[in-house]
């Protein structure tokens, strides 16, 4: 018998909302949205946790400029370290950011382990930074944290939306909590995405402009909070 699932809801019992930043597509800005949303909510005085579940290319720590030094403290579980008032958990504590290879079962085991031992305690929001696709990570989140609300990110591109639409359809048919779609890296206004999203009866939560300042602010949360992206994200955060 696999004991870990039985303790996950206990670990999350004081977490008010779990929001997964997801997309069928890679590189659309899931990690950028997840990290900046966490920063924004923390700045608004909310208690926020951030769990990076992109195990192959964890990015949240890079965006937040966090280079873990040592393991999280142990006390009846593990206690996420705080970065700019965000309780942060990621495989990088344990991988030293060295490369490795995981197959699907390994991914599931890592996620189960992180969920079973991490003590989030009291949170208003736990933000999950998901990898692209509808694979083990997404399926495990659906299985083990059924209360998860999905915030789906796309870019304006047809190619991106092709993959994103698949995820949306899976969430819709499963009647899973779906907050809506954020369009990211918008360059010129077009209604392509908002129309496509409306057709699926999903909320279009607005767009985040392509912001050339962002690259330079990566790794520096204070600078990130001053970008236009951050202002755009603040607006989105009010709609959640």
């Amino acid at each position: 018998m696999e004991p870990r699932p039985s303790v996950i809801q206990t670990r999350l019992k004081d977490v008010n909302r779990v929001i997964a930043v997801a997309s069928g597509k890679g590189g659309v800005g899931k990690s950028m949205v997840a990290s900046n949303l966490a920063l924004s909510l923390a700045k608004q005085g909310k208690k926020v946790g951030l769990l990076d579940l992109d195990l192959y290319g964890p990015s949240s720590h890079l965006i937040l400029g966090f280079n873990p030094d040592g393991f999280p403290d142990e006390e009846h579980g593990i206690i996420p370290q705080e970065i700019h008032d965000i309780k942060f958990m990621s495989l990088v504590y344990f991988s030293e950011d060295k490369p490795g290879a995981f197959r699907g079962d390994d991914v599931t085991n890592i996620i189960l382990e992180l969920l079973a031992i991490t003590r989030w305690d009291d949170l208003d929001y736990l933000i999950l930074d998901l990898p692209p696709g509808i694979g083990d990570e997404t399926l495990d989140v659906i299985s083990y944290i059924p209360q998860t609300e999905f915030l789906v990110v796309t870019t304006p591109s047809k190619v991106a939306f092709g993959a994103v639409e698949k995820l949306l359809k899976i969430l819709i048919e499963g009647k899973l909590p779906l907050l809506g779609v954020i369009e990211n890296m918008t360059r010129d206004s077009s209604e392509y995405i908002s129309k496509k999203v409306s057709k699926l009866n999903v909320s279009y939560l607005g767009y985040l402009s392509y912001d050339a300042q962002v690259e330079d602010a990566i790794g520096d949360p204070l600078k990130l909070l001053e970008t236009n992206l951050s202002k755009d994200i603040l607006k989105v955060s009010k709609k959640l």
């Binding site: 018998m1 004991p3 344990f94 991988s95």
Partner: protein, 138 residues
């Protein structure tokens, strides 16, 4: 000790299983600890006993048996099989401890000793599992 969190999962899942099988009290839990996770038997047992106290109404003179399972690893590239204990002494203290937290970082910190591939399987002996429980219906 993060072992406590895993011990809690054992207790909670045993209680859930007992409820499913209409057991009023649990009298025995048989646990397998895979060597890869390097859980200290005594710490783990201590945590389990503490938790049995907390949920004392679910247990009656419960016997907790802990069995250690050797870790067998098998390379998907060259089929070589090996045991974790054969390579553990090559790991730094931090690497070994990282594997204690998340056994799958073995795919980050270790490789197949024969061909060097990170693409291997944990055939057995990964972590904590409950092999069986016993109890009484009345």
């Amino acid at each position: 000790m993060h072992e406590w969190a895993l011990a809690e999962s054992v207790i909670k899942s045993s209680i859930a299983a007992a409820e499913k099988e209409n057991l009023k009290k649990i009298t025995e839990i048989n646990i397998r600890l895979g060597e890869l996770q390097q859980i200290a038997n005594d710490i783990f047992k201590f945590a389990l006993n503490e938790l049995v106290e907390t949920y004392s109404d679910k247990f009656q003179d419960v016997k907790i048996n802990i069995e250690t399972e050797e870790t067998e690893l098998q390379c998907k590239q060259c089929n070589h099989t090996w045991q974790f204990k054969d390579m553990k002494n090559k790991l730094s203290a931090d690497e070994a401890e990282a594997i204690h937290f998340i056994p799958e970082v073995a795919f980050v910190h270790t490789r197949c000793p024969k061909c060097g591939s990170p693409d291997f399987l944990i055939v057995k002996g990964r972590g904590v599992s409950v092999s069986s429980i016993k109890g009484i219906k009345e």
